[in-house]
Symmetry: C2
Subunit: 648 residues, 2 copies
């Protein structure tokens, strides 16, 4: 049975209240009034984030045998100039000409038009208004692809004004999203906080290839902070100014993008939203995905190549592993107009949330763009070498300088002349031959070269290999966005008691606290069993908490459910007699009973995912069903579980 997520009925207020109250997340520097777009992860949020990163590292770096590096976030100007970020990493902004308030131009345009259309929906309109409405709808569909001029034209056409003051707005102008600073005391090294971790991998390409003993293809990952100075951050932690990224750069021969492990995922059904289906649909929200085996997606040319499809498949596995609901995720292909000119193919993992579909992972075939850009700017060749299976014959124009003639003419400058001839490329050699044929002499820098100074002949040679610039396939993960989507998908209300109780159906592997230990009441007699349980769990390195506060078991279960604790261990008076305890599963609220040793053993198996709860209940001979303590709680009695799950 699959859990479902309903965006329309999602109670975001209740959800956000839980996140703040239980300190998953809170606005940073709140006692000083806070700063938009900066958040603190409190203990449960921080633990979940660490789990997401650890699972990511296991799933991608360790299992795929990738390299991993860790470089600085401070990045000097030339690096980000070469990558294009200094010139092009920008959003368009409009400024309220009265108050000076700034707005992101596309967001304000979208909101204003949506509001106006909504207002029209509520009253009858005439023909002229119908025409305006249709113009606005067309504009809305195109916003994401508009350039500066087009946005400016739309602002004029629809007479967009400042939302707070109704004042006129400046024309849209670009605002660079990088945080700028200066390195060193003299202020002569302008630098930025990196907008992505990827560049730190590209600039290390040579060292990485060396480390990999020159073997291609290979992948390198980096997990770390990136920064974007958003114009007006909103949407909680979906749009923030500082965030953890996990990026992979998979370097591959541009003509051979097959993947050695493709067969392992060839039959996996990918949840795809290809270009064609997007063109056919009326709006982004009403698009239907197609389920396609990875091998079929590549065969039909829908996904450009095996390596890209391999990473889409592995990303889909990861997303499900951490608790994204498959029915509420999709890989959306970029439209041609969305892609950079050099990109071959791009897909975004989008997850459905109460804010709509949210991009959490970008997967792009960026061809040779990045390495070529850094090669050109740094004057350092970022290339790999391929040895041909068979040596190839190649003819080329050989120009041999006659040193005696040149020496007589140029004397002390002879070495420079020889070097200038030596350095000529294939095209230049052909030009030189042509000019010497036509005019008997040719200007080479400051030197005049004549026919008698060189011999020119076309010769054959064996070529054993060549250098080439690798292509890059880049999966790029936003850890905070994934974390947020996991939390929304996990959140549900449990009805049946006298008050609303919320639950987080987090997978055991990412739950911040794996188990809460609860004595039936605050009583010293329980102490030895409590210590025995805590000691046994600590030895297994499980994060557990003890809750011996003086409230009912039911209320304490609810408190644990609220932060997604998957299993509670309860100690009652029978525990004193036979050293048995109960184990309660969060979503089914089923309980089993067994000895401390057996319960701790299965708890480890449940948390590591070796066994599921259903399997355990039906098969483990050392545990027996238990219904004893439920009467202490109204909610636990005859409860209706609104959204049953099989997450454990």
């Amino acid at each position: 049975m699959q859990r479902r997520f309903d965006r329309k009925s999602f109670d975001r207020d209740a959800f956000e209240t839980v996140l703040r109250r239980r300190f998953f997340l809170a606005p940073a520097f709140e006692i000083y009034g806070g700063v938009a777009g900066l958040f603190d992860y409190g203990p449960p949020g921080c633990a979940m984030k660490n789990h997401l990163i650890q699972l990511w590292r296991d799933h991608f770096v360790v299992e795929e045998g990738m390299l991993e590096i860790d470089g600085p976030t401070l990045t000097p100007d030339p690096v980000l100039r070469a990558s294009g970020h200094v010139d092009r990493f920008q959003d368009y902004m409009v400024r309220d000409l009265d108050t000076g308030a700034c707005y992101r131009a596309d967001h304000l345009l979208r909101e204003t038009l949506e509001n106006r259309i909504a207002a029209m929906d509520r009253k009858r309109t005439d023909v002229q208004e119908d025409r305006l409405r249709s113009a606005m709808e067309t504009c809305l569909q195109r916003i994401d692809e508009m350039n500066q001029e087009q946005i400016a034209a739309a602002y004029q056409q629809f007479d967009i004004r400042a939302p707070e003051s109704d004042a006129p707005l400046s024309a849209p102008y670009p605002f660079n999203l990088m945080f700028q600073t200066q390195i060193g005391p003299t202020g002569t090294i302008p630098a930025y906080l990196r907008p992505e971790t990827a560049q730190g991998i590209f600039v290390n390409f040579r060292r990485l290839l060396d480390y990999n003993n020159g073997r291609m293809p290979f992948a390198c990952a980096q997990i770390g902070l990136s920064f974007r100075n958003e114009i007006s951050p909103r949407a909680g932690i979906l749009r923030v100014r500082e965030f953890a990224q996990a990026e992979i750069e998979h370097f591959v021969h541009p003509d051979r993008k097959d993947h050695p492990k493709f067969n392992l995922i060839a039959d996996l059904e990918l949840i795809l939203l290809p270009r064609k289906e997007q063109h056919a649909a009326r709006s982004r929200e009403q698009m239907t995905t197609v389920l396609l085996r990875a091998a079929e997606a590549v065969r039909q040319g829908i996904v450009d190549n095996e390596t890209l499809a391999y990473f889409i498949a592995r990303t889909q596995q990861y997303a499900q592993m951490i608790g994204i609901l498959p029915n509420h995720m999709r890989f959306r292909q970029h439209l041609e107009s969305e892609m950079a000119h050099y990109a071959r193919d791009c897909w975004d993992l989008e997850v459905e949330t109460s804010y709509g579909w949210v991009e959490c992972v970008g997967l792009a075939d960026r061809a040779c763009y990045d390495l070529q850009a850094h090669s050109a700017a740094s004057k350092v060749d970022l290339v790999a070498y391929e040895k041909f299976d068979e040596p190839r014959d190649e003819t080329f124009l050989q120009i041999t300088p006659l040193k005696r003639v040149i020496g007589t003419k140029f004397r002390g400058e002879t070495p420079q002349v020889l070097e200038a001839i030596e350095k000529l490329g294939e095209t230049e050699r052909a030009q030189l031959q042509q000019q010497l044929t036509d005019q008997d002499q040719v200007q080479l820098g400051p030197y005049v070269i004549t026919r008698e100074m060189v011999t020119i002949e076309r010769v054959n040679r064996k070529i054993h290999g060549r250098s080439y610039c690798p292509s890059v396939i880049e999966p790029s993960f936003g850890i905070g966005r994934l974390l947020y989507c996991v939390l929304e998908h996990a959140f549900y209300n449990r009805t049946g008691g006298d008050e609303l109780r919320t639950v987080l159906a987090l997978k055991p592997a990412i739950a911040p606290v794996k188990s809460v230990v609860l004595p039936l009441s605050k009583n010293e007699v329980f102490e030895p069993v409590i210590q025995a349980v805590l000691h046994a769990l600590a030895k297994c390195r499980l994060t557990v908490r003890l809750d011996e506060s003086n409230v009912s078991i039911g209320r304490r279960y609810a408190r644990a459910d609220e932060i997604g604790v998957p299993f509670c261990v309860t100690i009652d008076f029978d525990s004193l007699v036979d050293h048995s305890v109960t184990l309660r599963e969060r979503d089914s609220m089923e309980q089993v009973r067994g000895s401390v040793g057996d319960v701790v053993r299965v708890l480890v198996e449940l948390v590591t995912g070796e066994r599921s709860w259903t399997e355990l209940v039906s098969t483990d001979p050392s545990l027996k069903p238990f219904t004893g303590q439920q009467s202490t709680s109204a909610v636990e009695d005859g409860t209706v579980c609104e959204k049953p799950t099989q997450s454990a």
Copy 2:
């Protein structure tokens, strides 16, 4: 047998060559010329860093049940103004008045004086020079404690000039070490990159106390990046501009700094360098440490309190666990002149390296300074509440306003008058009583209060508890420095062959690669056994590498030794017959032989530290000593191991 480290004979050139060549570490953005103080961790360095952090989290956060949070590095100005960093987080700088080059004033002073003294040592000197020399030596001893005026005076006294140009220098002036930037498009939110992670914990104190259900004491950790815009970074990765920090803020009642788990470490011998021993010594390098049981250090008042001593002990355990050599570390107590006025007691973990003694961890009792500073600046009370064991009697002056009289006089302003009286503190109430006795009336803001408006009496009441500002005990770890020290302590040369071979004696738990699998030669027949070994190791989530390059086994062992691989698994022709392989230990170069299953099983035990190599060789019945392949390598034959170890 304990490994030893010899600073004098340490071959730093060879060491640094290995670190770069094997990409433990390299200057960042090197293809663009690099930026001083910024480094990349390559794959082995990055893996080691992740291991150090994971062990730290297990040892401190999980084992101690600490909270952990994760907040932004971007920090708005008011937070760092309150903490004192905007005004006081600075070094003094001098500028070459000709070239504009900047130098850190204390470093340049120290270098210049040391060079001049060294020059004197090489020639005979007269009495006047002896006097100068003695003045320079006195100055050298005081440099770390000097303020701006004293440094300026020393520059004058010794006529210090720019080292490159010999030009005159500016007077020393302060340079703030924080990187500055702006948040948001309007540039109205000045911000800094945090200089430490601690402030992010202090500003969250209320949420953290809530999360802990109001219980004191508790500790919160944060692991993350911090930034310092060093004036002229040197000394490799010991002085960098961006670094990973792991900090703990342990909040505790100011009068009760005992620690519940103190008895667990009470008998541990701490390696201490108390103030007294420092005063007695002639120079920092010639100080002798004392070994003192933790309980004894507290009893004698050498370490201020149990909690501070507890963290010193836990830090010592951690340092040894990661491979810092105990004979080359010490906890140095700050002299009174080094400590901030509010600090109670401070100790630094210093580690001996080729650069001298390096501070890697700071442990400080900061009293209530930080919480009080943020309370005052944010106007938000950062306090805990203590309930008294017994309610206490307290007498206080009660002022009861007579509403009828006040109402008649002040009419519509009556509520404000009542509130003004209500808000009076204890001291103000006593003053009011005194003034009413002396003068019959008193000015209270804009209101004149007369005797007949209030009754004043001294009354008793029961006090059940009170709010207080907790003290903070702060252990602060520099992860990069620890990593560097571990690498220096692990590095040694192995002699005996025809070429120099270097080894990193890294503990298995932090070694970047746990095992290398080596077939005797490149031959397809080995493939099935190779795959069996790799598959078995992958199932245990061990990071392993396959080295089937076409060089001798000895050379491949040397390559593995160089990056600290603790164990090699070798496959030879006998493996094809009986499925047995050999396991070689890095430092002893001993080998044992057993089945693939047994070798993988013991490898896991060795890496997790469940068993040591010595124990294994002497006791495991499934493995037998092996001496077969050593003849393939000159170095492995009759080798002398320069620094034998028992690190495994």
